[in-house]
Symmetry: D2
Subunit: 306 residues, 4 copies
Amino acid sequence: MPGPKNSKWFLDYLTPEEGHMHGINSILYSKKTPFQQMEIMQTGSYGRCLVLDYKMQSSEVDEFIYHEVLVHPAMLMHPEPKKVYIVGGGEGATLREALRHKSVERAVMVDIDEEVVMMSKELLPEYHAGAFDDPRTELKFLDARRDLEETDEKFDVIIIDISEPVEEGPAYLLYTREFYEMINDRLTDEGAIALQAGTTAVGKLLNLTAVHKTLQEVFPHVVSMPAAIPSFGLPWGFALASKKNDPRAFTAAQIDEMIARRVNGELKYYDGECHLHSMTTPKHIRKAIEAQTLIIEDNAPIFTYN
Amino acid sequence: MPGPKNSKWFLDYLTPEEGHMHGINSILYSKKTPFQQMEIMQTGSYGRCLVLDYKMQSSEVDEFIYHEVLVHPAMLMHPEPKKVYIVGGGEGATLREALRHKSVERAVMVDIDEEVVMMSKELLPEYHAGAFDDPRTELKFLDARRDLEETDEKFDVIIIDISEPVEEGPAYLLYTREFYEMINDRLTDEGAIALQAGTTAVGKLLNLTAVHKTLQEVFPHVVSMPAAIPSFGLPWGFALASKKNDPRAFTAAQIDEMIARRVNGELKYYDGECHLHSMTTPKHIRKAIEAQTLIIEDNAPIFTYN
Amino acid sequence: MPGPKNSKWFLDYLTPEEGHMHGINSILYSKKTPFQQMEIMQTGSYGRCLVLDYKMQSSEVDEFIYHEVLVHPAMLMHPEPKKVYIVGGGEGATLREALRHKSVERAVMVDIDEEVVMMSKELLPEYHAGAFDDPRTELKFLDARRDLEETDEKFDVIIIDISEPVEEGPAYLLYTREFYEMINDRLTDEGAIALQAGTTAVGKLLNLTAVHKTLQEVFPHVVSMPAAIPSFGLPWGFALASKKNDPRAFTAAQIDEMIARRVNGELKYYDGECHLHSMTTPKHIRKAIEAQTLIIEDNAPIFTYN
Amino acid sequence: MPGPKNSKWFLDYLTPEEGHMHGINSILYSKKTPFQQMEIMQTGSYGRCLVLDYKMQSSEVDEFIYHEVLVHPAMLMHPEPKKVYIVGGGEGATLREALRHKSVERAVMVDIDEEVVMMSKELLPEYHAGAFDDPRTELKFLDARRDLEETDEKFDVIIIDISEPVEEGPAYLLYTREFYEMINDRLTDEGAIALQAGTTAVGKLLNLTAVHKTLQEVFPHVVSMPAAIPSFGLPWGFALASKKNDPRAFTAAQIDEMIARRVNGELKYYDGECHLHSMTTPKHIRKAIEAQTLIIEDNAPIFTYN
């Protein structure tokens, strides 16, 4: 039978009945921060990985998929995004992708967990690629919801790059209607937002569908974009919401042209054809979204993994 | 931390450095057939599953994705498929989907492993749903390659539903240029074929890209269709090859119309929008296909998992 | 590297940081009884195994060690045990060993969980070996503590064969000083008792040492007997307490003579030399027992696994 | 159910159907030396552990058991051991125990793998406790069998502290009759040797029983001493062979007196009572030794784990 070639394993329990196993070559960091359990491991299949609260957050090998699909569709919905706000995004890779857009003049990144950012800066240099030192970057270690509540500043794009809503974790109040309404208020007229919305696996669509429906309470255009992040062990989805432009209205050629004109360097995952792939969804996922009636609210949050 | 709620686990090693864990509720069958190790398990997340040579083949919860994307695009490439040939397909679900097409008059299914078919018939009734007893079905337990070599019959669609090419397994000579040439010869002029082509995970694209390139040696139209089968633990791909019609030329509306007219019952995964999703591929996968130069041949087969 | 030859595993978590893995060939039974989760599995290394609340209870291959060391030393402490009481002992193997003593006229077995006994009777015939049908056997499905409280009958030997004290499990009030005092009252003058007392692993001796000290509050002679039950994954200990005879006073020859005279059939684990092995303990375990000050009481129970 | 509190695990496959799981806190070293795969891990239950060829060799928490039972019985068989030879023993803990004997004037340690010794010296200071720097120590990095063949020197005690005989490992020719004969020739008249002899688990006694029988071909007194090393996941055995004194002839009081007079510091595992425990063996193990007919020879070696 096919056998393992490693004796050290990270067991990532996706649900109480399912997990993904990663061979571990070395553990570069493992510590409880004030907010969560943080680990950086070198794995056999995915290179250096960030693990928060025992769950894979991103891997050297496939983080480009996660960060490109999270950042670029939202950025392209705005004709000329100058000010970007990032909620979370500790590894710095979301910031890295946002800063590739030539129009960006200011990128505010607010992560509650300074230790995650500092250790990522030191141990995951390929992830941030110097983005923390970009003169356009402002980095703050705060509760992003409070930070946004207290500011009058408006942003063209807001990217929410946070872990899943778990009961004791720092993220679950960043998935509610009230939060999205406040986000909407901080966006300029052609603004857009994006976030990871959980797995698209059959029967595990609660998070994605409820986020989709909750966003529809606030934004005129909402799309759930499927994307395969192999290291996650399950298929994944990202939500894109836009105040003015409909993401589904763009052709592949238009997307390719905008990327060529507006983005520095070459993208690896996302382009015009991939945009069409991201805008189209298998039938059962669309049906599940349509059937969902739950709206996530501050006093009725949802929690994954139970 | 999120903890397991099961103490019995199926460890599906995807590579020597990666695996997927399924909580086991019960084991309905576990035996070495003359060709492979066969198991049918009831899992916590995916219901009843078929496992061959220690690898997940299909699960009650998401087999509809696998079998719909494998069968329907190929069937729709032909204007009126009357004769269908299935290589492998032991569970009977590929046969089930093919028989939904009203035009089908004859469906030949040839699986080398009678025990897999017989046990699936008994223990996986939701998979075949009576397809083995359909009067249009002819079931044979043979090496399909030899069976096709020895016949003069032509088919409109040939579906290859076999496990991955592993060194001691029964399948690796069904992935070669010589086999595809023979298949091509057994197809009618507007014929099409489809097969599962392995994972699309970053860095693990050898199988999919080599199959794609090998098919292009034989067929004018070849598409690699990404699809997420959650129980597989890695993102997956399917190859579609067609003698006459270009799969990418169809609109969503055309596909929806054809399904409505030609297919009995309601599909769960595949429709017009899903067709567009299947015809479009992330950039890095397309680049990997373009970069692949390997052609699989009888005397130069490839093996996954090593 | 040495690799597994099974893909189905029972993960027996011994502590939150340690576990033992058993290859599973088949699962014969898996159900929640009114008292606990019960499973009977066929494993690759240990044959048919009984698993309660996700923890190995006994295995076909090495249950003889567990049941011989639990039963025979206690039986031999009494010169002619006629009446035996068994607390728990669901598989029937403790009963089987007790009934091998020719002097026994009456054996009362009281297990709270009828389903465990009934399924063991059906699926573990090698364990009970007909003991349930012995005319000397009386089988009751009750809380043994209440049953003993309500009876005036006296017994020569009482064997406590129960699972470890876990917070929600049925057993933790059967490990307290009050229970042992009541047991003592139900014993005849030369009576003895035995029980499994948990692991002897370094640093995990709380259960064994506290049981030992608690028994010493009640009985004049208390011995902790180490024994290796391979399927348990950790070294184990058994407590023997006696009202009159000192277990350490017997020579190997005396034990061999008593076994030959008093016990039917041939023992596999226990004999005179093994008695000496059981009466002697590594230094660090004796030191840990001496250092223990905790007495287990009804209102101050202990729980393992935390 | 009892759940894990770690997501990083060392899976120590004991056989193809059985394993032991250790929660990993950190990996201090992981590298392929010229002779074997070497790892030093900090585990949740056992502190810092040495792992060679994917198998637990010794742990900070229970290495005292392994090294005391390996060294002291053999040392005490000789009335005044001055010259000691250690085969293997990379961590330095066997050397540490040998040097506690006041009579020792010279201790030669010969390990084939310099990297294991050097990394243990750096990362496992509690194991060697300065033994490598003792002026009585001579350390050589050679094949011990060749080293012993080429010397005329005689030793009072020879300790063989090597890993199990695996097919590609460095150790299997150090378990044969020819090797033991040569060892015997290098011993003084009252000399003794000791070695670890593999698990004593039911049905897995091939190694221990064959070693026992092979030693009996060469030495007049051979004893197999059971000992529980919890981190090993299975019960273990050690072989003691002596040219003149019978290990079983000593009383507990004699052993305690010799330890008090001859050994520096306080032992944790081994004393007079533990000696009796080590000299007595459960019946089924003795029966298995008696039934064994295999003699291990250079041209008929044995391999564990297959």
